[in-house]
Symmetry: C2
Subunit: 155 residues, 2 copies
Amino acid sequence: MTIAHHSPMQAVESVDEAEAVLRERGLRASAARRLVLETLFAAGGPVSAERVAEGVIGSVPRSDLASVYRNLERLQEVGLVRHMHLGHGPGLYVLAGAAQEYLVCESCNAMRVVDPAQLDGVRAMIHDTFGYEAGFGHFPIVGLCPACSDHGGAE
Amino acid sequence: MTIAHHSPMQAVESVDEAEAVLRERGLRASAARRLVLETLFAAGGPVSAERVAEGVIGSVPRSDLASVYRNLERLQEVGLVRHMHLGHGPGLYVLAGAAQEYLVCESCNAMRVVDPAQLDGVRAMIHDTFGYEAGFGHFPIVGLCPACSDHGGAE
DNA sequence: CTGGTTGCAAAACCTTTGCAAAGTC
DNA sequence: GACTTTGCAAAGGTTTTGCAACCAG
């Protein structure tokens, strides 16, 4: 699992659409795979592999954790899924369609979801200064949230 | 090991200075501790615990990995050291004095060191937009470096 | 039928913890 | 001497891998 994904992102709206993408690539639409997709759709935000293995409702259908990891990896290769690290602890996976970036407070751990467009100015500034095309999809922006910087919440 | 450090950063210039800080806090200046500090000074940049355990010259003096982790943790509590995650793989530790932030290319993994001042504009923009005091010391800014974005290095 | 996919078991990797012996002040 | 710190061993949490059975196309 590297930082970079392997294909252009494929935003899809449903499990069926996702499975169509899989078939196009010669991959199969298995039950375990559907479980992963359904859970990611149901979650609507970043979730751990462990959480995915528990299925949509929570520990009901279950699929093997190893298979979940293998499936998440393949779904990333195809561009349907991406993963990120919001702090310590397990990696978190989301559907590629959920175009979201995150601000995490290092003091209270509050996580703020932001629309990528809101960071375009920041990206532009970074590009002007360093020539880098920055993305904040893999690691969040870490800092002190307004509340914590107010009451001297510095680490 | 949480994201946040535990004390204000203590930038020191030498192992002796660092040990003085330790003693002030009632901590002891042991050989294993000195090894950690010397290795961090010698490295001059982020290194893994494993690398620290190998000592200054490389696998010569050695200290137990568990002790290295414990010492890195204590040095962080005191504010002499901080750690970061530049990608997957083990966490990396640096002296608090090495005020540096990083830009990592998600395609070629190139790591660019930047002076925190160069990111002040970016921090200001984030603060204006979200009210967050952003820091890029724990997670780097990930993106495509100029070379990779040129030749279509997008993942 | 063919080859991708699964579950299970085991291992790999990074980090933490328990504990008695040793070291520091 | 009191209390911190060490080394070793073992465990913990996350992710990967080997392999035979299984299933989708």
